[in-house]
């Protein structure tokens, strides 16, 4: 018979079952104590209040940081996209209209200055954004030194230097983004 071959196994399993049942039946899960321990109750209420306060503070902090992140990231992204557009325009040509450079000043340089003010207001580290501002100013200065004809700047001789500056500025933008992501 099959069960005779495994009788010891069944016996040990039966014993384990008995022990488990005995141990579990010793716990009194649903016993309700009608006595109120004042000290323990006060401690419980205090613990609950502290817990709620901590949860609320953490949640507010998370919300505030998320709002800051979205706001700053949106502003930076906008300026960076415009800079990339301008860079493409510069890379494919050897001249640029003053109008485009003026929009560089309005849409990128000025916006980065505002972003720096916000960084300062939020008491964030603005070293990276200071560097970006300096690099943008240097970029602008390259065009300032170029000859203008009919409201157009010609930069063929300076193209290499301009492209190097574009790379550095993009690195600065990514550093600022990195700082924002640390919020």
């Amino acid at each position: 018979m099959q069960w005779k071959q495994n009788k010891w196994r069944y016996f040990i399993a039966f014993l384990i079952g008995v022990i488990v049942c005995y141990v579990t039946t010793q716990f009194k899960y649903l016993q309700i104590n009608y006595e109120v321990n004042v000290i323990e109750t006060l401690i419980a209420f205090f613990g609950l209040t502290v817990g709620i306060y901590i949860a609320d503070t953490i949640q507010k902090n998370i919300n505030r940081n998320q709002n800051r992140y979205s706001f700053l990231e949106g502003k930076l992204d906008d300026s960076w996209t415009k800079f990339i557009k301008l860079s493409k325009l510069i890379r494919v040509d050897e001249k640029i209209a003053l109008e485009s450079l003026s929009s560089y000043n309005e849409d990128i340089v000025l916006q980065i200055s505002f972003l720096r003010n916000i960084f300062e207001g939020f008491k964030m580290d603005f070293t990276c954004i200071d560097l970006l501002e300096t690099k943008l100013e240097e970029f602008e200065n390259v065009f300032d030194g170029l000859k203008t004809e009919d409201n157009v700047k010609y930069y063929n001789d300076e193209k290499g230097s301009i492209e190097e500056k574009i790379v550095i500025i993009n690195q600065c933008f990514s550093n600022v983004l990195n700082t924002i992501q640390k919020i």
Binding site: L98, L101, S102, N105, E106, V109, L110, S113, F114, N117, E133, E137, E140, N141, D144, T148, N151
Partner: protein, 107 residues
């Protein structure tokens, strides 16, 4: 005190350095407004207040040229001591203007 509000009195979209660089350049601003206003302020013995806020931004060359010419005309120290620059939006412009005012001395 004499006041120049650049966005109102000159242009909300200031340009570049010289007349060759297109309209509303720093040179044009100096010739048409800054020079005369500063001379008036000097004659009256008052300071000249220049308000930068409210524009679409200033190129470094615009600020440098306009105030470089002013420093050259009236003397750097005298100009700097009799100017009040209002730039709450971009405080960095004040430093650029100072560089412009003293540009002739550093050359």
């Amino acid at each position: 005190m004499i006041i120049i509000d650049i966005p109102k009195d000159f242009s909300r979209t200031p340009g570049w350095r010289t007349y060759e660089d297109g309209p509303f350049s720093g040179e044009e601003f100096f010739d048409k407004l800054l020079k005369d206003s500063f001379a008036k302020a000097k004659n009256k013995g008052v300071k000249l207040k220049v308000i930068l806020d409210g524009s679409d931004g200033y190129t470094t060359s615009f600020l440098n040229e306009a105030f470089r010419l002013l420093g050259k005309e009236f003397g750097s120290d005298f100009v700097w001591n009799n100017l009040i620059i209002v730039s709450n939006e971009v405080p960095k412009y004040i430093e650029r203007i100072k560089k412009g005012v003293y540009a002739m001395e550093t050359k």
